[in-house]
């Protein structure tokens, strides 16, 4: 019996012990509520840090430069840059030129305008824009409006509007979000988004009525008392890289200029009126070469261009910062400089060349009549080519001697400061104007190169090759993303559309072309106007919408206008140009978001 009692006692004791132990251990369950302790992360909203990020989305692709902590997934980080994506989507399908590397996913479809809803580049821009919008929404949901907060809020609203503008322009009808939430979103029609942008931008400018604003803002997700904070952008920007009211005015001018495309209702008067606001602002065309080495136009795109686009009277209205050390991005200034050059080109501040972008014959035609510039088929002896015995089998069509030159010579040869092109280099690389490339996309040397963007400093003489930038690998060239010249062109086109071709011609000749030291145009028609847009803004990421608006892009009207370029409706050069379905005037919504969000796809896709 004793044994039993002993056993029971031991058992009791051990269960007691076990109980105590178990209790102690259960406390460890609380360990599961772990707090992150990575020194690179914080857990709470930091208003200034997120504000910086919102501007930085224009200039970088992630939290580490040039790459390594990207913002957008499903696309190469270097490609995912705001500037680069806007450039690629708006220029590769147009008459300016394209990317020769067929292997880059989604590229061939852009070049021949045959994209579908699963194109990775189209998804890339879409997700980039919405990433930026979510960031802005997050800021607006959490920011404190005190002190510097009010200006920050207005500027963030502008950046959000800018991102929505590109959604409106490129996609039309898109989901509309004012907060970061898993709640189902309303898909705005293109008209609805247009109206929303109109009120938002006017409010930022200070011209929206209270009633307009109240019906427009979703107060439930905003923490502030809108009546008691300054809702407008500042009159003068707080630094070279921030925005003020003029940015809202120029974006409004762009909205009105394209209003017919976006809503079916033209707004030429308003476009002119808002262009005037910009023209009459403190920001002015940069008309005089400051350094004396390069033209004023060229100075806008150089390593030290902040001197000409920044300040309180510069040409830039929204400037995106790039710096060789502090702010590196594969899709910003580096892209604009490297992608357009091949090894052996003149020094451009850095040395890395990608040989990616080739121009189109139609682009050359904007500067000199193609048949004048092009020599007949010749057999060029190219020193050090792969196989000299092949020369006769690959006839090349090169520029006539008078049209051969580098980027410093071509503006003079073509009589326009903006013709910063490259057609010839004497010693080993023969750069020729050639059509009928044997491969689908051609090769880099199939056409002249665009060398408008450079890392050189305007203080450097044309033949200077010493390094003056902050880094030998990354250019310091800022991006004048919105600039005054657009207001003049907008005003000119608005006048032209209203029937005042002479007035329009005058603005173009006296403002735009005069600054570029180009001969005045004698007459102006739709096509010359369209070409002038390209001459002024080529490779700045805007071409597509000008072609759409002026009726040269897709659809029966464009077909009837008979303006074709290699790639428009044709898969191969040499083939007859086909008509292009009007659906291509906008991009399809990425299929991935259509599926998860249940969106209505753009018509025709």
């Amino acid at each position: 019996m004793q044994i039993i009692i002993k056993a029971m006692n031991t058992l009791k004791k051990s269960f007691l012990l076990l109980g105590i132990v178990a209790l102690g251990l259960t406390a460890c369950v609380h360990n599961l509520d772990v707090k992150p302790n990575d020194p690179n992360n914080i857990q709470n909203f930091d208003q200034n840090g997120v504000f910086t990020k919102i501007y930085a989305t224009l200039a970088t692709t992630g939290q580490k430069g040039p790459d390594g902590s990207g913002d957008v997934e499903g696309i190469d980080e270097g490609v995912s840059a705001f500037v680069r994506m806007i450039f690629e989507l708006n220029e590769f399908p147009t008459d300016e030129g394209w990317w020769i590397w067929d292997g880059d996913a989604g590229m061939p479809d852009l070049r021949v305008i045959s994209w579908t809803a699963v194109n990775p580049l189209i998804s890339g821009i879409y997700y980039r824009l919405y990433f930026d919008i979510s960031l802005c929404n997050h800021f607006l949901e959490n920011a404190n409006a005190d002190g510097i907060g009010a200006a920050q809020i207005a500027e963030v609203r502008f950046i959000r509007a800018l991102n929505y503008y590109y959604l409106l322009d490129m996609f039309g009808s898109v989901p509309f979000a004012m907060e970061v939430s898993e709640k189902a979103k309303t898909q705005y029609t293109r008209e609805q988004l247009y109206s929303w942008l109109l009120v938002e931008l006017k409010d930022l400018e200070g011209t929206a009525t209270d009633a307009e604003f109240k019906s427009h803002v979703k107060t439930e997700v905003m923490n502030y008392d809108w009546n008691n904070i300054a809702r407008t952008l500042p009159d003068t920007r707080l630094s070279d890289y921030r925005v003020d009211k003029v940015a809202a005015q120029l974006l409004l001018a762009r909205l009105f200029l394209n209003a017919e495309v976006y809503t079916g209702q033209a707004q030429w008067d308003l476009a002119e009126q808002y262009a005037d606001k910009v023209i009459n602002s403190q920001y002015q065309l940069h008309t005089t070469s400051a350094g004396g080495n390069y033209s004023a136009y060229q100075e806008l795109f150089m390593g030290d261009n902040h001197k000409y686009i920044g300040g309180n009277s510069g040409e830039g209205i929204l400037n995106i910062y790039q710096d060789g050390i502090m702010c590196q991005c594969w899709g910003g200034a580096r892209f604009m400089c490297s992608a357009f050059r091949d090894a052996g080109y003149n020094y451009f501040g850095i040395s890395d060349t990608w040989s990616c972008f080739r121009t189109s014959p139609e682009f050359i035609d904007k500067w000199v009549k193609l048949e004048d510039a092009r020599m007949d088929t010749v057999y060029v002896t190219i020193v050090d080519s792969t196989d000299r015995s092949k020369d006769k089998q690959t006839p090349r069509v090169i520029a006539k001697p008078q049209y051969r030159g580098n980027e410093f010579q071509m503006p003079k040869i073509l009589g326009d400061d903006r013709a910063i092109l490259f057609s010839w280099k004497g010693d080993d690389a023969a750069d020729v104007l050639e059509m009928n490339g044997t491969t689908k996309n051609g090769t880099f040397y199939d056409c002249w190169s665009v060398l408008k963007w450079t890392g050189r400093y305007s203080t450097q003489p044309v033949n200077g090759e010493n390094i003056v930038g902050h880094s030998p690998d990354w250019p310091d060239t800022d991006i004048p993303f919105m600039r005054v010249a657009e207001a003049y062109m907008t005003k000119a086109e608005a006048m032209f559309q209203k029937g005042n071709a002479a007035g329009a011609l005058d603005i173009i000749n006296t403002k735009i072309r005069a600054r570029a030291n180009a001969k005045p145009l004698a007459t102006l028609d739709k096509r010359t106007l369209c070409d002038e847009w390209s001459r002024e803004f080529y490779c700045e990421g805007r071409r597509r919408i000008d072609l759409v608006r002026l009726g040269f892009f897709a659809g029966p009207e464009a077909d009837a206008n008979q303006y074709n370029w290699e790639g428009r409706g044709s898969a191969k050069s040499g083939e007859a140009f086909k008509s292009l379905d009007k659906k291509y005037n906008i991009f399809p919504l990425p299929n991935s978001d259509v599926v998860v969000q249940g969106l209505k796809q753009a018509e025709g896709y």
């Binding site: 044994i3 056993a7 029971m8 031991t10 058992l11 051990s14 269960f15 178990a22 251990l25 460890c28 360990n31 599961l32 772990v34 302790n37 990575d38 690179n40 992360n41 914080i42 930091d46 200034n48 840090g49 504000f51 910086t52 990020k53 501007y55 930085a56 200039a59 970088t60 992630g62 939290q63 902590s69 913002d71 997934e73 499903g74 067929d102 292997g103 880059d104 996913a105 061939p108 699963v118 990433f131 960031l135 929404n137 989901p175 907060e179 970061v180 890289y241 921030r242 902040h306 710096d323 050390i325 502090m326 020193v383 196989d387 080993d428 390094i467 902050h470 030998p472 299929n591 978001d593």
Partner: protein
Amino acid sequence: MKNNLLSLRAIFLSFLLVTGMAAFAQVAVQGTVTDAANGEPIIGASVLEIGTTNGTITDFDGNFSLTVKAGATLSISYMGYKTQELAAAPSMSVRLGEDSELLDEVVVVGYGVVRKNDATGSVTAIKPDDMNKGLQTNAQDMLQGKIAGVNVTSDGGTPGGSSTIRIRGGSSLNASNNPLIVIDGLAMDNNGIKGAANPLSMVNPADIETFTVLKDASATAIYGSRASNGVIIITTKKGAAGQKMKVSYEGNVSMGNLISRLETMSGTMLRSVAQALNHSETQMSKMGDASTNWQDQVYRAAIGTDHNISLMGGTKNMPYRASIGYTLQQGTIKTSEMQRVTASINLSPTFLDKHLSFNLNAKGMYIYNRYADGSVVGSSLFMDPTQPVRGGSATKMYVGEDGNERSENEIINTWFDGYYQRISKGTYGDPAWPYTKNAQTTANPAATLAHKNDRANSGAFVGNLEGDYKIHGFEDLRLHANFGADYSYGKQVTTVSPYSYSNFYYGWDGWSEEKKYNLQFNAYVQYYKDFTEDHHFDAMVGYEWQHFHRTGSYDGWGTYPTNSQAVDEAGNSLAGKVYEPSRNPNSYMTESYLVSFFGRVNYVGLNRYMATVTLRGDGSSRFHKKHRWGLFPSVALGWKIKEEAFLKDVSWLSELKLRLGYGITGQQEGIGDYPYMTQYTRSLEHAYYPIGDDSNALRYDANGLPIYDGTGTVVKDADGNIVYYSYRPGAISEDLTWEKTTTYNVGFDYGFLNARITGSIDYYYRKTTDLINTVDVPVGANFRNRVTKNIGSLYNQGVEFSLNAVAIDMQRDPSKFKWDLGFNFTWNENKITDLNLGEEDSFVRTGSISAGLGDGYIQVHKAGYAASSFWYYETRKISDDKGNSYIYAVDTNKDGQITQDDRVLNKKIVSMAPFNFGFQTKFQFYNFDLSLSFHANVGNYVYNDVLCGNVYSVAPDNLYSTQNGGYHGVLMSAYNAYYRDGIQPDKMRQMLWNKELGAYEATKTKFNEYYYTDLFIEDASFLRCDNITLGYSFAPKNVKLTGRVYATVSNPFVITGYSGLDPEHFGGIDNNMYPRCMTSMLGISLQF
């Protein structure tokens, strides 16, 4: 429950007392226990009257005395010996035989052991084969080909490199597919550390007693959350109580040679090929006069040596084992080497009449690694063979950035440390460095090896203390606790010379450091009961707590050369100063916790029917509170059919057991530690912006490193703008929860002819649901467009078969000839059933290749196909009427053009072999032994990226390139593919569907994406001989010593139809892997 147990116990004890009183008669027993082999007394053997707690232990002379009831049976047992049960007699002489089969009989399962006979799950235990082990620097090497369903692929020939282990295919897509590794009861985390590839490298292979692999869910479910990919349990060797001290030494020396290399064209041949192709004089003038075999500059015979000494033995209550080991292994690529020192100690004392026992393990390891730059594998193939290793032409002149012209030889000797390299004009604006390398060319591999010093030092400590207490007076109940910790540290330091190709001018100094510690505690209570002879029952409940913690930091920078004449804006010399744009310092810290409760109930009835039920609940700190806990149950049933009356007397059948299992396991790896929380990531170097507030202005400390506590100096860019760092909110996955794998298993264990032939066969089906997957989410809902969610499902099913046989056993013959055979076979099918990507055709790209401009993927995950199935263009070779043949890519979807939609998948073209085989055999004859082991994969495909990368470059127009200033090396297989087999990527054409004709038309349209075609996807089935060993054992009569000498050849041959160097690649892409070598080894082992 408590009360029930108590009352059961009470009734049972009362019953014993009553029967005891009834019997009444007593016998006094006197006895001696000796070792059957040598007749020496056994001290401390336990003698127990069966059915009672009445017992004693033997004294110093092996004697015992005990009074028992008449007719009682005594159980005499001692660790390491077979237990004997004998009828009590007044005088007894007991001889205990050594129990060599003990380990075969007991298998380790999670939190306990089970008799193999009673195991219900699919459990395979192996003892490392001491006689045929080959070169084993890592424990994973011992598993290859040995166990059905376990596939081990080494990552190449890197000394001390890691392997990929897959048990029954992979249960995940994006989460981890690595098995859980448990070392002496300690579940390791799955990450390696700088210099140590994975947790298996923490154990010296010489210390391993057994490997146990738990494959099906009924066996693994007790490990719950981390066991979806199987569990490998490693038990290290221990001493035995009362055993005399044994000293063992094992040592070997080895040499590794590359017996096969990829053949390259000699310089002489390249010259004649260029002539034959009519290359111009100018082109040919770029050739050098040498004929260098660049692979000779890279590879060497690799020496290795390995020494291990262990001491083991035990006093009465204190068994011990200690060991120390040293390993040196050179790699076959020059400069690469690993050195390792390991030490381990094990103590397993018992107290309180064996009621309380402890087991203490401590293992320490120090590893030094020197890594070779892996790029030399490729560059030694592509480097121009006409150029010398050192020096250059005295007549070829190059203009520098300074405008001066110098000879190639002078430039190479001044700015390239004498190593030949193609030259370009400098871009540094530094008069002292007017040249640079031509960045379009290949790096001289000899220079790469000489100019890079990349080394890592790492240390690891793994220790645990287990305590086990059988409650006095209530021995059926055990309390068990295990506390363990592992700590590891690694630091890698990389120095690259400014004369190097990769870091010309600035050079590179960098380091990265990692520290981690994991803590673990578990405790369980086990109640073990034989109610009657026929009904055995045991139950266990337990608790576990694990903490994983990891920190790291790194920094790296270039420096202006010491002779630089570069100056800053103020005109100060920059020589020797850090080149700031290159610098990238950072540090990180992360941790997670797992808390678990678990229990198991075993029942064995009539020695025939077995049932095991387990349940585990795991909480992970990686999931939001709402989804934190996962419940992982399992049920397994076993039926020993052989024990049934109708088979009992069938003499040829010695064992037949049916096992049925079902269970669920979980997965939480591969998602980061904090996926459900909002976190803001600070921007790092080169991602600053000049807009912000004083609170987020970038500041540097005195060392020029960023500091975030508000102190330090505000940083400005060179134009005077203050720059600011930013914060980016991260994605939040609040709904994320456990990925779950449900496994069904049916298996038979069988034995024939008195267990001369044994084995098992299993069928399994494993379905994974709630796949942890990164998927598109609605815009505007999160801060990332792709977020990790639980979406999709896949399954693996397969058959495993193993057979072990003693073919000949002539124990009585003086030759003692014995022939053992072992064979295993696995068939596994992996299939993704649902990816939920929305569109039927959607897929996830994977399997990146070197071609395709950074966007090249040759595989996809797609519903209806195996994970990582090849996705390619089909080709056809057709001759035209002129007799020229072309290869055409086919417009498979017949839309008249070739787009990505024409790429196809084939259910058979998969990277993971559906069939695996392993085969081992061993002959023993007199004192000699000869063993061989093999493994084979059948049905696996490999993308030959090496061939693809080279075949384009051998086209007549590509042999010479203006951009890289001359010729390049030519891989003979690529040359033959191009000129002999007609695989000419630059001349590929398109075979388009002509709608009007309703037929395919061979067009002249060029096809560019040759690298995505089936031309480079090859059947890579193979049979590899892993080891051949010949040994001789000796036991000199006059010396107390036994030993064995042996010679081994590892990896002597591979039989395959694959055209590349080696057909074995995890993931199915062959891209310049560090080649595996053949190793020849001489070794000796001694025990005294």
